[in-house]
Every structure is written in structure tokens, then in C-alpha cells.
């Protein structure tokens, strides 16, 4: 299927839509200081697939695993790779909420900066 003209634009817009996977990807890219291409490679998919993934709802709640599996089945992505991205952003969200006394800041403030200062391979297993 030919990818539509609007796909990239919609995926970019999803980065500011809470509850969308695109929002998670946007945050992850800032945290890890990585490009969309690098994230696509991490997830083992093409850029076009990454843009389609961005338009999915963010998996959450009791059905988290089921929802991740649904997404991965449809777009042929490895679940562990997607879970790893989701968890990393979730942890930062939680820490950020604590740091701002229960208020989630939009720019994520010092924690995000601290995370960006971390060496690229610092948190990875060998």
C-alpha cells in the first residue's frame, strides 16, 4: 500500500497529543537524543511504519500487554522493543510527576535534562 501524503504530518502532530504512541515516541526521542530513523531502527521497522505506529493509542492499564501485542502483530514489530520504549518513558513520567509534586510539567524540566546528560549507552545492558 502506498503511504498517504498526510502520514508524516499526522505522526508529527501526534507527538503533542497525550495518549498517543506518537507522544511517547516524541518524549523518547528527546530523552535518548535520537532521530526518528534511529528509533525506527530500534523498533525494527521502517519510517513509514513508525509514523503509523505513532497514530496508535498508547497501551495502558490492565490490558497493557494485550494492547502491545495487538499493535506489534499488526505492524510486525518486536513487542520487547516497543515495551522497552514505553517503559522508559513511563519511568520518566512517574519521576517527573514526583519531582513536580504531583503536577506533570509539559517540558519535563530538570529530570529530562539530567536524562539527556546521561551517556548514550549508560543505561543499557551489555
Amino acid at each position: 500500500m502506498k503511504n498517504p501524503d498526510w502520514l508524516k504530518r499526522a505522526a508529527e502532530r501526534s507527538t503533542v497529543e497525550p495518549g498517543m504512541l506518537g507522544n511517547v515516541f516524541g518524549t523518547y526521542q528527546v530523552l535518548e537524543d535520537c532521530t526518528a530513523e534511529a528509533l525506527a531502527e530500534e523498533l525494527g521497522c521502517t519510517l513509514d511504519t513508525l509514523n503509523l505506529l505513532a497514530l496508535c493509542r498508547r497501551p495502558e492499564g490492565d490490558a497493557f500487554i494485550e494492547q502491545v501485542k495487538d499493535i506489534c502483530r499488526r505492524f510486525d514489530v518486536t513487542p520487547s522493543a516497543l515495551v522497552s520504549v514505553l517503559r522508559r518513558v513511563e519511568v520518566m513520567d512517574a519521576l517527573d510527576t514526583d519531582a513536580s509534586n504531583g503536577e506533570t510539567s509539559s517540558d519535563r524540566g530538570p529530570l529530562l535534562l539530567a536524562a539527556k546528560d546521561r551517556p548514550r549507552d549508560g543505561g543499557r545492558k551489555p
Partner: protein, 200 residues
Amino acid sequence: MKREKEWDLHERILGKEPTASVDLFLTFMDPLFRMLKRQTKCSDDDAHDSAIDALFAYLKEPDKFDPGKGSMSAYLVQIARYKAWDRYRSSSARAQREEKMRVQVEVEPPPPNVSLEEYVEMKQLVERLVRKIEALGLDDRDQACIRLIITDSRSTESWAEVLGLTHLPQDQMRQVVKRHYDRLMKRLKSLCKEDPDEES
């Protein structure tokens, strides 16, 4: 799109099925884009953005759509049209502001030590103030004095000339000028306080 399919998609979205939103985009983006291009004067970019806005607006509050009141396509078309109109209005207002700024700057360029934005803002502020002063119905003499205040002319002689007080001895002239100055400043201050955020 058939009603049953729309209903099914809506149910999936209400059920927070993660990939349903992708299907929403794949199903409705092209028809919404075509409709906006056909029915409005917007550019391709604006049509795409308005369609995207409409779909995200629906995704944010899917339960606002009542299937009993009409089809999902009609509902989304309505939101997209509204978004396109909103976008058109903001871009027209922006174009008008920019045109006004361009004309002002061409007619009377700003001094080198004032930025373009500051200059235009200052001019607009003065214009607003002048309109308010005109509405006060002041006599010619008071209007001339206010021009002196605006142009920052504080010399007693200029004021005395406008007020027709040049025949008075210097001390008395200064006193009367001060009285007029204070009176008018008080009026101007209360005028500015009336509606400090008023936009023209």
C-alpha cells in the same frame, strides 16, 4: 462508508483498542481532505491540518459523538469544516496584521534604535489613545496640550503659547501651566486605567 462499519470503528475507539485510531485516519483522512478542498478555499496543507485536527478532536472525546444523531462521517466533516474555518480566520487576521504593519512601516519608518515590533506596537497604542481622547470631546486648546504631552514637550513656553498665557509673568505662567498639565495628566491616566487591555 457504511453505517455498520462506522459504528464498528466508533465502538473500537470507545473500547480504547490501540490500533483503531490508525484505522480512523486511514478511513477518513482522504475523504475529509477532498471535502475541505472542494468546499473551502484552503490550501492542501491547511486541508490536511484541519482534517488531522478534526480526527484528534474526535479521538480526545469520542463519546461526544452520538450515533443516534447522524453518521460518523457527517460528524467528522462538521468538525473538520469548523477547524478549517478557524484556521482560515486566524491566517486572515494574521495577514491583515502583517499588511497593516507593512503599510505603517513604509509610510513612516521606525527610528534606528527602535525595533520594528516595538515601533508598530507603540504606534497602535498612540492611535488607540488618540481615538479615546477624541471621544472625550475636549476643546482645541486641551487637544493641543495633549499633543504636547504625547510629543514630550515640557517647556513652560510651549505650553504657555498653546494656552495663550504668554502675557503672564514667568512665575504665574509656570503655576498656571502646571495646573493645566496636572489636570490633563490626571484625565489621561484615568483614560488609560479604564481599559488597559483593550485591543483595537
